[in-house]
């Protein structure tokens, strides 16, 4: 395609985008205007109906739980795709990043870095678990908490080395975590059918509003999503680390 044709195509596409975006933006409620009727209704109904204090969690894991199910499987398929894409190819080989030169040793990470990694890593795990388990009470939930838990693995890598981190996260365990978390969502959804209600219906006891155990299936769904997301992001990190640290081109 010539430069001129490309520019013409770009101009047409940009004009179409500008018109669509302009019309869409013009239809938005003005900045700082009152919230919509739907939002106002949910704000009033959700605490009474679902015994939650974070209405956003009630929307994403209960009223619109089916949407979150699909989002979860989007993440699962993205992680699967990356795992397939980043497997060792036929001209590549796995080789652990160990220095085999006899006349020099790799200096271990300094105690300060190591201590920081231990401190920060444990704090991240704790914060992650807190975020997952309090999804029905405060902002946060399975997705955010899962990523925070997985980021502890990155900190462990920064503070130690590749071999140590690999011991933490055998790939079979990570893959099982990802799969169990994703299917757990479906299993909790099936509980509704078993109880004679709809798929993903909130059939578990709701508990008292504001308690840690409240909201029925919402904390359970948060938990399985947290497990899935933590496993998924740990897989992502380990696949990319494999690419940079372990997988080498065979011809050399």
């Amino acid at each position: 395609m010539s430069r001129r044709a490309r520019l013409m195509l770009f101009a047409a596409a940009a004009a179409a985008l500008a018109v669509t975006l302009g019309v869409g933006l013009a239809g938005l409620p003005s900045f700082g205007s009152q919230i919509s009727a739907y939002a106002r209704m949910l704000n009033e109904l959700a605490p009474a109906q679902r015994h939650v204090t974070d209405v956003v969690s009630a929307i994403s894991f209960d009223y619109r739980g089916i949407d979150t199910l699909f989002e979860e499987f989007i993440l699962l398929s993205a992680v699967t795709g990356i795992s397939v894409l980043l497997r060792p190819f036929s001209d590549e080989t796995r080789q652990l990043p160990e220095d085999t030169a006899p006349d020099r040793t790799i200096p271990p990470p300094s105690p300060a870095v190591w201590l920081l990694a231990v401190f920060l890593g444990s704090l991240l795990v704790l914060t992650g678990i807190e975020t997952v388990t309090h999804g029905q009470l405060t902002p946060g939930g399975g997705f955010q908490g899962g990523v925070i838990v997985a980021s502890a693995v990155y900190v462990a890598y920064l503070g130690t080395n590749y071999v140590t981190v690999e011991r933490f996260q055998p790939s079979a365990l990570l893959e099982a975590t990802d799969g169990v978390g994703a299917s757990g969502y479906v299993v909790i959804g099936l509980l509704g059918l078993l109880a004679g209600a709809d798929f993903l219906a909130n059939v578990v006891g709701l508990g008292g509003t504001g308690n840690l155990i409240s909201g029925g299936t919402i904390p359970l769904l948060n938990l399985v999503v947290g497990v899935e997301v933590a496993g998924g992001f740990a897989i992502l990190a380990s696949e990319f680390l494999d690419q940079t640290a372990v997988i080498r081109t065979r011809r050399r």
Partner: protein, 80 residues
């Protein structure tokens, strides 16, 4: 939340977004993109969208820079 906080957040988003676009080196861009993600999270927080802000922090400030950095490491190794 007062208008001033929202105004600061919007200016921060505009500045860091422009900085991300203007950074030409992909390695440095990963860092400016991380700060852009943080700015967006602050904007969402100032608009009282705590859940979205948390998602933005974990995706924009952790996941995206990490994947960009590791991809750069992979691509750079192939070029050696």
């Amino acid at each position: 939340v007062s208008q001033a906080v929202i105004a600061v957040a919007l200016v921060w988003v505009a500045a860091s977004g422009t900085a991300t676009v203007l950074t030409r080196d992909p390695l440095r861009q990963a860092f400016t993109a991380g700060f852009f993600g943080l700015a967006l999270a602050f904007l969402y927080l100032s608009l009282q969208a705590g859940d979205v802000a948390l998602s933005q922090i974990v995706v924009g400030a952790i996941a995206v820079p990490l994947i960009v950095l590791l991809s750069l490491a992979k691509v750079g190794k192939g070029r050696e």
